[in-house]
């Protein structure tokens, strides 16, 4: 009886050992394959990092943004990187800490009503400007900042000024 039991235990352990060894070998091979593929990928990334920079530059743009709070506080935010197709609205939205706006939809678009706690009121409000490098002057577009699609090297400004003086004074 003991001999019989010993025989079956031995056979079971032998089967287990063979299957376990094969499974371990399989996972070892899989580990090496994936490790090798990972190393290849890292090497490719390291050698092509220049190309990746070029690709990233190809799908983004840089703009300079001027912010004037109307109380003498004036701040330049230069070389802001934005995705292609960004607008003056997304540009200001990306640099300020908090901002309120009203979306009128359709042709009217978005109106900025508050930047960093400075709100529009009955006498003052936020204006956005675009620097025209051709004529070297600030232009006050007659449409929403969300309609103004930016180009590489554009310069825009948001100023807080009185409605009483029209047109409002240029940013600088």
């Amino acid at each position: 009886m003991e001999k019989k039991l010993f025989t079956y235990v031995t056979l079971g352990l032998l089967a287990w050992a063979i299957v376990g060894t094969a499974a371990a070998g399989y996972y070892f091979i899989q580990y090496n394959i994936y490790q090798s593929e990972y190393d290849d990928l890292v090497n490719q990334l390291n050698t092509n990092v220049g190309d990746i920079s070029a690709i990233l530059e190809g799908i983004s743009l840089e703009v300079n943004i001027f912010l004037s709070y109307g109380n003498g506080a004036k701040i330049w935010h230069n070389n802001n990187v934005l995705p292609l197709g960004a607008t003056a609205f997304t540009a200001i939205y990306s640099i300020v800490d908090n901002m309120n706006y009203t979306d009128y939809g359709g042709e009217l678009g978005i109106l900025v009503t508050s930047i960093n706690g400075v709100d529009n009121n009955s006498t003052h409000g936020w204006f956005y400007w675009h620097w025209d490098s051709g004529s070297s002057e600030w232009l006050l577009p007659s449409y929403s900042c969300a309609k103004h699609i930016l180009h590489r090297g554009d310069v825009i400004a948001f100023t807080y000024a009185s409605y009483m003086e029209w047109p409002p004074p240029p940013p600088i």
Binding site: Y8, L11, G12, A15, V19, A22, A23, G25, Y26, I29
Partner: protein, 191 residues
């Protein structure tokens, strides 16, 4: 005795038909009942009939399998199943036609072990095809076993459960149907 022989022929014929039909039925890879039935045939009809059944089923399977023509694998599959039949015959001889609940564990371990042997043999068949491409014997054999390890695992585990669950009830039923030595003395079958 004539009645017993008739019953044995009838059962063996049924086993053969069942074995071939289940082997040719589409199923998950490496989940099969042929090993059980061949082992069972060996245990009840002797090593010669069991191994003949195994070889025949694998020969037919080699041409009509839903996985396609076995090709170079065919002789190795037949050899593997012949061994299952022979071991079934030896097991039947040790049990002397009397199967008890302990047969569940014995059959499960034997099923798992025979599956490993069968897979080693058929993997050697795969290795032969590698060898024909110029790969040395040992790397070809180890490569075949390692690359087929998930299938080996499925095969062994599924056969362990199939043997442990199905062998004893089948053996018990057939033991009574044939009127095994003890059963024959207790209750003679109505003829």
């Amino acid at each position: 005795m004539e009645s017993s022989t008739t019953r044995r022929v009838a059962v063996f014929t049924l086993l053969t038909a069942l074995c071939i039909s289940t082997q040719l039925t589409p199923r998950p890879p490496n989940v099969e009942f042929t090993s059980l039935l061949v082992f069972f045939a060996g245990a009840f009809f002797g090593a010669l009939l069991g191994s003949t059944l195994g070889a025949t089923v694998m020969f037919i399977n080699g041409f009509l399998s839903p996985w396609g023509f076995a090709g170079l694998m065919l002789p190795f599959q037949m050899a593997g199943m012949i061994i299952v039949g022979i071991v079934g015959g030896l097991y039947g001889r040790t049990k002397k036609g009397i199967h008890t609940p302990s047969s569940c564990g014995e059959a499960a371990i034997l099923g798992a072990f025979l599956t490993v042997i069968y897979d080693l043999i058929t993997n050697f068949g795969v290795a032969v095809s590698f060898m024909l491409l110029g790969i040395p014997v040992l790397p070809a054999f180890i490569g075949a076993i390692v690359s087929g390890a998930p299938f080996l695992l499925i095969h062994v585990v599924s056969n362990f459960f199939v043997f442990s669950v199905a062998f004893f009830p089948l053996a018990r039923a057939l033991q009574e149907f044939f009127g095994g030595e003890k059963v024959w003395r207790k209750n003679s079958l109505p003829m």
